[in-house]
């Protein structure tokens, strides 16, 4: 049954409201004026130039990339490992493993932030990419876990058995057969973990120090004192990276498959 005209018009209106704020931010970032105005006054890349030459923003950008990559790698390792245990272990109850792996998804960021703050500061892990990377890895881990778990259920156990019979130890089978087969799923989870780290503010606020701040943290501190075209430029950059990554994950596999089929 097709949706009625009224419903569709309403949906289109909401769709415009969905994208309008993002577009407005992007528009205000290319203004040639020195104030956030809409529509922007003229067109100029000056605020992007300013941001990309400002050492504070550049340092923050570098920190964000470091933290995101670390979070992605750690989440991929830990999430994959947990998925193995949940899907294959005979000893660890799968409910326990799954619960532990998914729990970080349910925790409010404020709560997680306090926990990380209390522990990491005490053990001397603060003000660097490692501490925030670990914290973000915890938050990104469920994405990897769920993706790899789904991929693992699609891996035929007999393929692993064939490797064992061929003379491979369990470890060699894991490395040579199972891991390559779930690697694409783990990678997707890793990209998602990167994105969730890339624009995360709350936990980053807990673990930041004046010397170590990520892009969203710097943006946050500036936003609180008002809107600026340079902030719009940073916001646009953050959004572009997030969207690119999301597109990579959501659309990428389908494109790869289509290209492969054609060749």
């Amino acid at each position: 049954m097709r949706a009625g005209l009224g419903v569709r018009l309403f949906a289109c209106l909401v769709a415009l409201l969905f994208v309008a704020p993002t577009l407005i931010v992007a528009a205000t970032s290319v203004t040639s004026g020195s104030m956030v105005t809409f529509p922007p006054k003229g067109f100029s890349p000056r605020w992007f130039q300013e941001v990309l030459t400002d050492p504070e923003w550049l340092t923050a950008l570098g920190n964000s990339v470091q933290v995101g990559l670390l979070a992605a790698v750690l989440a991929m390792a830990a999430g994959t490992s947990l998925a193995f245990a949940a899907a294959r272990s005979r000893f660890l109850p799968p409910a326990l493993v799954t619960g532990l792996a998914v729990l970080p998804m349910t925790v409010p960021l404020v709560v997680a932030g306090i926990g990380f703050y209390l522990v990491y500061v005490r053990v001397g892990l603060s003000g660097n990419a490692l501490s925030l990377g670990i914290a973000h890895a915890v938050l990104g881990l469920p994405f990897v876990f769920v993706n790899v778990l789904a991929a693992l259920t699609g891996v035929d156990r007999r393929v692993e058995e064939a490797a064992r019979v061929s003379g491979a130890t369990e470890t060699v089978t894991l490395v040579r057969i199972t891991l390559p087969l779930v690697a694409p799923a783990a990678l997707v989870g890793g990209v998602l973990a990167f994105v969730s780290s890339w624009d995360e503010v709350v936990v980053a606020l807990f673990l930041n120090t004046p010397r170590f701040r990520t892009l969203p943290v710097v943006m946050w501190s500036q936003v609180r004192s008002g809107v600026e075209p340079s902030i719009s430029a940073v916001a646009t950059l953050i959004t572009l990276v997030s969207l690119l990554m999301a597109a990579l994950v959501l659309v990428g596999p389908a494109v790869v498959k289509k290209v492969r089929r054609r060749t």
């Binding site: 035929d156 007999r158 393929v159 058995e161 064939a162 490797a163 064992r164 019979v165 061929s166 003379g167 491979a168 130890t169 060699v172 040579r176 057969i177 390559p180 087969l181």
Partner: protein, 375 residues
């Protein structure tokens, strides 16, 4: 494939690369269920043994115990005199073919076949030749660069076979290797696998539920039911001389007559309320027995026809169905006690009756087989 490296039996053992496999008292329980129940049997070097049985008979579990994927609760698996029950899978030196091929989907055909060589630390430069030879043996020479996904089911199973034999393991295990293939391909592969295993002199243990496959390919068949070994012997023995009702029913069509056997003059007879079944051989005294008559041994005659001079078994009945099956036809006859009897005749010869006719089934005493002591 002309040179036969090995025959079953002691004469062929000399120089056979195949392993001697001995199963001793294997038991596997799952909860209260005995999936494998005290199975002992020996496979001679170079022998092609089929574990035959319905699903749930324990044949797959038994194979997986031999492979090492499942630990037996009791008993030993001995290969060439060595108890390998505690040896981990990867050091058992066996080849295995799985029903669903189980190729490594992310590796090329050549890399799939090379895998066992790599695991056995065969030098890299020696691998290529061995891989190509194995692929040629399964008629896939030149396919090494392909991905398994590009191959048909039959080709994939050939790759799996090449991977299983490339390292020349003394023992090849096959778990319903042809189950996923269509009938024609299956028959072609049966012959191919049999030829290849003979040529290489491998000991093969094959699992199937397909009696035709078992009869075609095997030197020996071990028939399993409910986890127990029912009968172990050559295909001829299992088909011609089933030792139990289970065996008689599982292998081929059969008509079973149960009753007391006693002597009538010089002839042993199993008396039925409605007819007489003559039993071959000497039978001292009276006893319970089951007589097995294969459908192809039975002749159909119209009810009024003269009995032949020679002593034959005669059982009356009514034709209930006449099924044409190409090279033969299957006639179902309802016996006087309501039991359904099966007769196979050549489809060329005219049938002396049609559905609904009263007929008499006759067969020579020598063409039936008696199972004594049957419960």
């Amino acid at each position: 494939m002309t040179e036969t490296a090995t025959q079953a039996g002691p004469t062929g053992r000399e120089g056979s690369p195949g392993a001697r496999v001995e199963l001793a008292g294997i038991v596997k329980r799952y909860g209260d269920v005995r999936a494998v129940d005290d199975v002992s049997l020996t496979v001679e070097p170079g022998q092609f043994l089929t574990l035959l049985g319905a699903s749930g008979s324990g044949k797959t579990t038994l194979l997986r115990i031999i492979a090492g994927f499942v630990d037996a609760d009791e008993g030993r698996v001995v290969v060439d005199g060595r108890d390998i029950s505690q040896v981990p899978v990867h050091r058992r030196e066996i080849g295995m073919v799985f029903q669903n091929y189980a190729l490594f989907p992310h590796l090329s055909v050549a890399a799939n076949v090379a895998f066992p060589l790599e695991m056995r630390r065969v030098r890299r430069r020696d691998r290529a030749a061995l891989v190509e030879r194995a692929l040629e043996a399964v008629q896939l020479g030149g396919y090494g660069g392909r991905s398994p996904k590009e191959l048909s089911g039959g080709q994939q199973q050939r790759v799996a076979l090449a991977r299983a034999i490339v390292a020349r393991p003394p023992l090849l295990l096959m778990d319903e290797p042809l189950g996923a293939l269509d009938r024609r391909l299956r028959e072609a592969m049966q012959i191919e696998i049999r030829g290849l295993s003979r040529e290489l002199g491998l000991t093969v243990i094959n699992v199937t539920h397909d009696q035709e496959e078992a009869l075609t390919m095997s030197d020996h068949i071990a028939l399993l039911a409910g986890g127990r070994l029912v009968q172990h012997g050559t295909p001829e023995e299992l088909y011609g001389l089933p030792n139990s009702e289970v065996a008689a029913r599982f292998l081929g069509e059969s008509n079973l007559f149960r009753g007391r056997v006693r002597r009538e003059g010089s002839q042993a007879v199993l008396a039925l309320p409605y007819g007489r079944v003559l039993v071959p051989g000497d039978t001292p005294g009276e006893r319970e027995a089951v007589v097995v008559v294969r459908p192809s041994a039975i002749r159909i005659r119209p009810a009024g026809a003269e009995p032949p001079a020679a002593a034959v078994s005669r059982v009356p009945g009514v034709v209930s169905a006449d099924i044409y099956a190409g090279d033969s036809r299957k006639v179902l006859v309802e016996g006087a006690d309501g039991a359904e009897l099966v007769v196979r005749c050549e489809s060329g010869a005219p049938l002396p009756c049609s559905v609904g006719d009263e007929v008499v089934l006759e067969w020579d005493p020598g063409s039936c087989h008696i199972i004594t002591g049957a419960a």
